[in-house]
């Protein structure tokens, strides 16, 4: 009697076979890929040797005045690119994100907005930079435009998801007062999502700052060009100076962003 009831009972924690097979397949593929790409221990040791030589040639960082001046110009331009791209990027992301949210926008609009976001997300900022450099010429403008595109791709997509997760109850209550759609947006939706939006913005500024050092490599302005040039001329001490400044800048930004997020809790 007891044995029959036990066999007929379902398992408490049934095995999720699709998930398990998925993990196994992923592991097997990773091993296979590593074997075809000639990734071996000997190769790694050889690489570390070269890395040590590189690090040795970097020290001490170059602090010659003319170099610093050049670096400062580049860094400030990068900073400007990041700030402008973030500002205009989030300005465009806000309406785009609302339009993409399926719980607020009609189907045709959210589909169109999602399509636009997908296009923005399709390419790495460097690829987009190359396009803009060809389109509007060398300089900061190309970098700014490229980063605006990537900002829209990232912030609008995640913001739309935030909006879709909002609590519908207060929205219903405000709608019940006879409020117009825009008033519902202002008083019931925005209070729920703005803190997350500020968080996304701050995160994206971080990301834009890092990417703004890179768009310069393809002619999009900023510190990227001097950095790339220094690499190619084997001026590794200059490279180190630039890298240290970038690290300091990113850390400063990290610190500031934590503060900003706390204010908007």
């Amino acid at each position: 009697m007891t044995s029959t009831t036990q066999t007929s009972r379902p398992q408490a924690f049934p095995v999720n076979w699709p998930a398990r097979l998925g993990w196994i397949a992923l592991t097997l593929y990773a091993l296979y890929a590593a074997s075809t790409l000639d990734i071996s221990w000997a190769r790694l040791v050889r690489g570390i040797d070269q890395g040590a030589t590189l690090l040795a040639r970097m020290f001490p960082p170059n602090t010659a005045e003319d170099k610093l001046e050049l670096i400062a110009t580049g860094i400030f331009e990068s900073l400007q690119i990041a700030v402008l791209a973030t500002f205009f990027g989030i300005l465009l992301s806000l309406p785009l994100g609302f339009a993409a949210a399926r719980n607020l926008a009609p189907g045709w609009l959210s589909t169109a907005a999602r399509g636009l976001i997908a296009v923005c997300r399709s390419f790495h900022p460097v690829i987009v930079s190359i396009l803009f450099v060809k389109a509007v010429g060398f300089g900061a403008l190309a970098g700014i435009l490229a980063l605006i595109v990537s900002t829209m791709g990232f912030v609008a997509k995640l913001f739309a998801e935030v909006v879709e997760e909002l609590d519908p109850k207060p929205v219903e209550a405000v709608r019940a007062t006879g409020a117009s759609f825009l008033n519902v947006l202002v008083m019931a939706v925005m209070p729920q999502v703005m803190a997350r939006f500020v968080g996304l913005t701050v995160y994206q500024f971080d990301s834009n700052l890092r990417n703004s050092t890179m768009v310069g490599i393809v002619g999009g302005g900023g510190i990227g060009a001097p950095l790339f040039t220094a690499y190619q001329r084997f001026d590794y001490d200059v490279v180190l100076t630039i890298l240290l400044i970038i690290i300091a800048l990113i850390m400063l930004c990290e610190f500031a962003s934590a503060r900003i997020r706390r204010v908007f809790q």
Partner: protein, 260 residues
């Protein structure tokens, strides 16, 4: 079923043959017809899933009825769309089971939400509400028993009872012709439930706003309502004063007798 109550005055709200089918052919509300006097508390009782909430939500069109008419002072809400519907909603206050306050906003902002049918989005964004509205919101804070110290507190810092008081203040802020309350005490402890019902009864009396309340608690309904509507399976099976509600009615509404 008891005799229909005589209507003393022109009803503020007439529900006529109201039908709602979420899935075609499976009506949740089966041609409900009810008149509501422009005064007093009406309690709608009935088991869960019997359409009480749907009925309340059809009245202010948070849910669209499948058929039937909803006459608010003669205007048929069932036929309205867009701006006309929003203007009609301004005259109906609503109180919710889970309060439905905007958690991140202050108590004052939540109460002033009751005026959103009257201010532009730009003014709402800048919180430039008319001074008269702000004064009235402060007065309401006192009237619902919170006091003006609560004005700047964030809604998520309040207890359940305090939140429901804010919810009630938001509804009165609309200067409504009618207040709908969807299980306003179901999330509250027994003592707070009594206080909230007390407050609603007082509002109905002193401000002459008729209130329609969905409620699970039959005792509270009998104590605070002047009229009880019993629903089961999408039909009205009892309609009368609390004194007329007897055991066999309750058996008919809820089924069985053991629970009584």
């Amino acid at each position: 079923m008891s005799a229909p109550r005589p209507m003393l005055a022109e009803p503020v709200l007439s529900v006529r043959a109201l039908r709602k089918e979420y899935q075609p052919g499976k009506p949740v509300l089966k041609d409900i017809s009810l008149d509501f006097a422009p005064e007093g508390v009406t309690a709608i009782i009935g088991p869960s899933g019997t359409g009480k909430s749907t009925l309340i939500r059809c009245i202010n069109r948070l849910v669209d009825p499948t058929a039937g008419d909803i006459l608010l002072k003669g205007e048929n809400l069932a036929r309205l769309t867009g701006r006309d519907l929003r203007n009609a909603r301004r005259r109906i206050g609503m109180v919710f089971q889970e309060y439905n306050l905007v958690e991140r906003l202050s108590v004052m902002e939540n109460i002033l939400s009751g005026r959103l049918g009257y201010v532009s989005p730009w003014r709402a964004f800048l919180r430039k509400f008319p001074q008269a509205d702000i004064d009235r919101a402060f007065a309401l804070l006192d009237a619902v028993g919170l006091g003006s110290d609560f004005a700047t507190r964030r809604a998520d810092k309040l207890s359940g009872g305090q939140r429901q008081r804010v919810g009630i203040a938001r509804a009165i802020m609309q200067e409504p012709a009618l207040i709908l309350a969807d299980e306003p005490t179901s999330s509250l402890d027994p003592k707070t439930s009594v206080e909230i019902m007390e407050l609603m009864g007082e509002i109905a009396k002193t401000r002459a706003i008729p209130i329609i309340i969905n409620i699970h608690n039959v005792e509270l309904a009998k104590r605070y309502a002047s009229r009880i509507v019993g629903m089961t399976g999408g039909n009205v099976v009892f309609d009368g004063p609390p004194e007329a509600l007897e055991k066999h009615h309750l058996s008919e509404i809820y089924g069985g007798e053991d629970w009584q």
